[in-house]
Amino acid sequence: MIEVTGLSKRFGDVQAVEGVSFVAPKGRITGLLGPNGAGKSTTLRILATVLQADQGEVQIDGVDARKDPLEARRRIGVLPHGSSVYGNMTARENIAYYAALQGLTGATAEARIDRVIEQLYLEQIADRRARGFSQGQHIRVSLARCMVHDPSILILDEPTNGLDVLTTRALRHVILERRDAGCCVLFSSHVMQEVAALCDQIVIISRGHVAVTGTVHDIRIATGKDDLEDAFLAAVDLEDTD
């Protein structure tokens, strides 16, 4: 479970995130929705402990991410936006590197590596160098390596950006499977249909604030719009007129 309370982050003159609070429970898929530049990535990078919030608190399964970032990192799998794998190493080596960094060794590590390779349909390319991989193959390897230690929380920043239908479907499959296994999945997107199709709950962020939180149904009611796209725009508008 992720509990975010009053998160604020400033870069120079830009207030990227201001007072963001939400809870992403386990066994649920939480979508972080918002226009480009709304503060989604900054929020997720703070949750992933690669950035430090100016204010606010992040609890990762009850671990304070600021006080004990190493423990928090053991519980999360992070897929940062635009991240890539090592081109000179095979898919398996890339995954094994992260397994080792997460402290997995020996037979346990091997079993976990084989498991994620299977989960993300990487068997065919597992022993090929990542240099020639397609965008979709890259994302699958990235996802496999961030899941290799079987984290209870997955944080995915715009994972479906630029993916073909097949990879998107594989990704959805994995996200749903993880949710059913009791994981807390938090992912960001600016594509409403995708969020609506997958998420159990949605957090709409606009200009660094949380505009609306709730299920798709809740958001439709709160904004008075039936269509999710209209609801999204209305939510962003609400925030703008504040």
Binding site: F11, R45, A48, T49, V50, L51, Q52, L70, E71, R73, R74, I76, V78, L79, P80, G82, S83, S84, V85, Y86, G87, N88, M89, E93, Y97, Y98, A100, L101, Q102, G103, T105, R129, S142, R145, C146
Partner: protein, 400 residues
């Protein structure tokens, strides 16, 4: 396995996967460099040895006025061409033509015998001979010196005969016997040629690790694999230390190859013929390796620190080229203004290694205090650089 070893092993694995680049950095400068240096040095040495023995021919205007001197020059393997520039007309015009030819480099050296040479010689006045040479030409200097020396010898010989004819012992005209007492040792003389070895070794260390240092810092960041790595449960100082050590491993390989390569290549120099001995066997190679190793540690930390400061691969390459030259500047300064070893100088990394290496190559005893100062100061600078890099890795600026 702990995070440090995991990261170190991965960086080295990835480094060896780029084997072409790695081979280039390890083979070109470290392996071939010493042989190239030795090849060029051996060539010039052989040339110098040959030059002393080889017969030369020089233009000699007015040589017909002094067959005696010509015969003496021939004995010194200096043949004269008395007909040179004969088509130019009179003595003055021919002298001018010779000067032009020497200035243009067409002729290395020539002599002009004065028109009144025979009369002056007969009358016991100083007979004039001009040696036409260009003192700014390093190529022509050995020949000019040879001609000058042969003329001086003839002058002394004729002077001696004149004194004897007057019943005076020839030594009366040479009251001073200037003797040269050369205290240099064969190894010290050899150092005149091998002085560049120290600079080369330090440079090979710096070059060796620059590629991998950029790859695993700015390169990792630019390719987008740094951010997910930072979300791994590994302390930032562990990451930095592993990356510095990975760079150090490659630099150490570069150092070992360079020193070994030099030790082998130096045996090919004809030092014995020049009265020199290179103090550069395998034992010395090991000593050099051990003395330069602390510098490699500092260089690895410096390269990683420089490359971590930058936002892109390209920028990192600029920074590391500066980082490659900066440490060797004191060495260049020391080469221009030779200095005596002292503890304060031993506190300057690179310079201290250079001075210690010079001592070893000259087969001189090392002061243990100097070694301690060199190792301690270099290690201290390395530690500061690592600390700065850790700070950089802890800062958010690394990924923003």
């Amino acid at each position: 396995m702990n995070g440090f070893l995991v990261v170190l092993r991965k960086e080295l694995l990835e480094g060896t996967r780029e084997w072409r680049a790695l081979a280039m950095t390890l083979l070109v400068a470290p392996l071939l460099g010493p042989f190239l240096f030795v090849g060029i040095t051996a060539f010039t040495m052989h040339q110098a040895i040959d030059d002393v023995a080889a017969a030369i021919e020089i233009p000699a205007i007015g040589a017909e006025r002094t067959p005696n001197l010509v015969a003496h020059l021939r004995q010194s393997l200096i043949d004269v061409d008395a007909e040179a520039f004969a088509d130019q007309g009179d003595q003055t015009a021919r002298h001018e033509a010779l000067r032009q030819a020497v200035r243009s480099g067409e002729v290395a050296v020539g002599i002009v015998v004065a028109a009144d040479f025979a009369e002056a010689l007969a009358a016991g006045r100083a007979a004039r001979v001009w040696v036409v040479a260009d003192s700014s030409s390093t190529r022509a200097r050995p020949e000019a010196n040879r001609v000058q020396g042969a003329l001086g010898a003839w002058s002394a010989m004729v002077g001696g005969i004149r004194l004897q004819l007057r019943g005076i012992h020839p030594t009366a005209g040479a009251p001073l016997a200037v003797l040269r007492d050369d205290v240099s040792t064969p190894s010290r003389r050899a150092y005149l040629l091998l002085g560049i070895v120290g600079y080369f070794v330090l440079f090979a260390v710096l070059i060796g690790g620059s590629q991998i240092a950029v790859d695993i810092t700015a390169g990792e960041r630019e390719r987008g694999s740094l951010e997910p790595l930072l979300a791994m449960p590994v302390m930032r100082e562990t990451l930095v230390l592993a990356k510095v050590l990975a760079t150090l491993v490659v630099m150490t390989a570069s150092l070992a190859i360079t020193v070994t390569s030099f030790a082998v290549a130096v045996q090919l120099l004809p030092l014995g013929e020049m009265g020199m001995t290179a103090n550069f066997g395998m034992v010395v190679a090991v000593q050099i390796f051990l003395l330069v190793f602390p510098f490699a540690t500092m260089a690895a930390a410096l390269m990683v620190a420089a490359a971590s400061l930058t936002r892109s691969f390209r920028e990192a390459q600029t920074y590391t080229s500066i980082a490659m030259i900066a440490p060797t500047l004191p060495v260049v300064f020391a080469a221009l203004r030779p200095m005596q070893d002292s503890v304060p100088l031993m506190l300057v990394p690179a310079l201290s290694q250079h001075l210690l290496l010079s001592d070893i190559l000259r087969a001189e005893a090392l002061d243990p205090l100097h070694i301690v100062a060199s190792v301690a100061s270099t290690a201290a600078v390395a530690a500061v650089l690592v600390w700065l890099t850790v700070r950089r890795f802890r800062s958010e600026k690394l990924i923003l």
